[in-house]
Amino acid sequence: MRTEYPVPLAPFGQQLHTYKDCTMAKIGVFICHCGENIGAKVDCTKLAAAMGEHPGVAVAVDYKYFCSDPGQESVKKAIRENNLTGVVIAACSPRMHEATFRKACAEAGLNPYMCEIANIREQCSWVHTDPEMATEKAADITRSMVEKVKRNNKLKSIEVPVTRRALVIGGGIAGIQAALDIANAGQEVVLVEREPTLGGHMAQLSETFPTLDCSQCIMTPRMVEAAQHPKIRLLTYAEVVGVDGYIGNFHVKVKMKARYVDTESCTGCGDCITKCPNKKNSSEFDCGLGKRTAIYTPFAQSVPNKPIIDKANCTYFKNGKCKVCQKVCELNSINFEMQDEFIDLEVGAIVVATGFQVQDNSVYGEYGYGKYKDVINGLQFERLASASGPTFGKILRPSDGKEPETVVFIQCAGSRDPSKGVRYCSKICCMYTAKHAMLYAHKVHGGKSNIFYMDIRAAGKGYDEFTRRAIEDDEASYLRGRVSKVWEENGKLMVRGVDTLLGKPVVIAADMVVLATAMVPQPDAKDFAKVVGIGYDEYGFFNEAHLKLRPVESSTAGIFLAGACQSPKDIPDSVAQASASASKVLALFSKEKLEREPVVATNNETTCAGCWGCVLACPYNAIEKKDILDRSGKVIKRVASVNPGLCQGCGTCVSFCRSNSLDLAGFTEQQIFAEVMGL
């Protein structure tokens, strides 16, 4: 008879047996008819009789519905009465009812991980026509599971402590919403923004669809609220440069870029900005349409309202002379010696809300973006229409400052274009183009707007009504077709396109052309995804764990997504996803410790040779090198040690292990060989 050789205690106290004495097994086999679903194809009574003969099986019964209340009760009763050491439920897929039956087993006093499901519905009765062969297959499947269960180990769920502090990366509307939701629930938040101010793209917008309320009027109070919230620690002009650890226990490194202005002492009086002689720098916030000084705040309502020095353009940094700002600053807040600093954070959950960029339109040479000053993109039009913009809300041509009498809007300039742009629909352009046409009609009376479109995609609350208003009340002329060329002639921009509904080519003499540019991921999104440890799609948008059922979780446990970093989104969708992420974070923080399935690798340290093949194989960096010391504290050898918090239980390391020291709880070598032998 084989005896048990317990391996040394695994780091989290699980004990996996390399050899297990199965002669004392008392397995209960419960065969479910699932009404007619299984019963019609598989002869359950015959199956139960056959299983009853199998060595180690103490009970084998069939029943109409084991998942029903009386069904579960009968399983529990059988466990108690027969002192069962393991349970096999031959029924539907484990994806259906594994949790149900494991709970039932636990209630009857049996370790829940001593219960396995034999899938004789989805993978047998539903897919086979011949009852005899189906019964034979069901017997094989069930027997194989019985052999596995005999070698199951009494596992314990793993508990990992949770640091109740969240990190939100990105201070646009999605990041602010997530941070506020988490903070308002009483949990600490660190909000990191890489620009000098909160606000993101939403702060740049003029009015928002479909209500036409002023974007800054709804955005800036949110920014202030986030900055002043006692539970939120705000880090602007900062970048996340490293993420280590795992759900509940992330270690994050943040780079605080040098502002050259001490934010502690600076009051934001703005004297330095007014006196700065270097005034002709292109303003990023105004998308190049306005100018700013070298020491600046991106816009008047910046949060925090503390200036920064643009090192690349500052006269002092370029020539070594100037320091006007330092001279005028009464608080001595200017410090030209400032260096980048790094800070370390401990957080339990991360919300990634890094947003998007607009596509570079210069790929469309035929539209003349970059060549003609009056061909602008949608975001630039927002700045023109914004009361805080370079023209104080007047729609004026960037070239000569005149009011345009005719404007052509070109939709899908980049979106839905596999040849030059991106294949996806950017989702918001139909709506903002309609909004632009309306704002233009309201601000320039008698102005004529022409919109070239492919389809009007206005799905959303109040959205279709909004585009109808643009057409009916504000007389936007929609032309279904594409534009082939834009060129300059006698001070006008000639737009040649086609009206497919009339089947005729059209040429429009316009004063300004606005391109509804595609939303694309941040240029460094893919690199950033690698820093954080999440997946991304072919474009660089971050991947959700499941497109339909887990749309706000990334594939890495404890990291959530919000806003346009996941896919093009409008403001309501971004806010909704941010709140959803926040609720996921709060659910995570509702417990002191996390429980998870104990399907993790364990290492036998006595046989481990320390070849580190497993370290190479592990996708999660879950395997660490551990020193084995003797009594005097001398290192005898170094072995692999699996961190159960990081291990996700794929088992790649197990098949990699040269000395057979690693094994995977729940899917041990012995269990799988037994399954094969049982077939």
């Binding site: 897929s93 484990p94 994806r95 899938n119 519905r121 989805e122 993978q123 047998c124 539903w126 897919v127 086979h128 026509t129 011949d130 062969m133 189906a134 034979e136 297959k137 094989d140 499947i141 194989s144 997946g535 594939s555 399907v599 194989a617 996708p619 999660y620 996700q648 239980g649 794929c650 088992g651 790649t652 197990v654 098949s655 990699f656 995977l664 899917f667 070598e669 012995q670 799988i672 060989f673 037994a674 399954e675 094969v676 032998m677 077939l679």
Partner: protein, 149 residues
């Protein structure tokens, strides 16, 4: 032989893609050959070549390994490890004289129930054409090495 030969095939699949694909074939009530027995694993990366050899030793006429498509692995790159291991393992199979046709490797996602059913049929047909895998059984008989655990 009057009755057609019914091969016994053992499949090692990952729980996230192919096992879910098999479930989908079930919920879609697709019909396929009942010759394949599935063993569920967390990831194809968990599949050791020893499992395949064990299955053949146990008397399987064919073995198949199936997981997530490249790039879709739930565990980011377990399937790449499986693929690499498979290319090396093929050489070993060739060396030992086990026909490569008896071991199949494929990618079937959780959404490909129909592909799963088709694949089961085609594999069964292929193995049926090859006939029973007597070669290995003969060998076991010769060496009198009993196929026990």
């Amino acid at each position: 032989m009057s009755e057609p030969f019914e091969p016994k095939i053992i499949a090692f699949v990952c729980t996230y893609c192919t096992y879910a694909g098999a479930d989908l074939a079930g919920t879609s009530r697709l019909k396929y050959a009942p010759n394949v027995r599935i063993i569920r694993l967390p990831c194809t990366g968990r599949i050791s070549p020893m499992f395949i050899l064990k299955a053949l030793q146990k008397g399987a006429d064919g073995v198949l390994v199936s997981g997530c498509h490249p790039g879709d692995c739930h565990f980011t790159h377990g399937n790449y490890h499986a693929r690499r291991r498979w290319t090396v393992f093929r050489a070993l199979l060739e060396f030992t004289g086990i026909p490569l046709d008896r071991v199949k490797f494929s990618w079937i996602s959780a959404a490909e129930g129909a592909k799963f059913a088709e694949f089961m049929n085609s594999v069964t047909e292929d193995i049926r054409k090859l006939g029973p895998f007597d070669q290995y059984k003969e060998l076991i008989k010769e060496t009198e090495a009993p196929a026990t655990l």
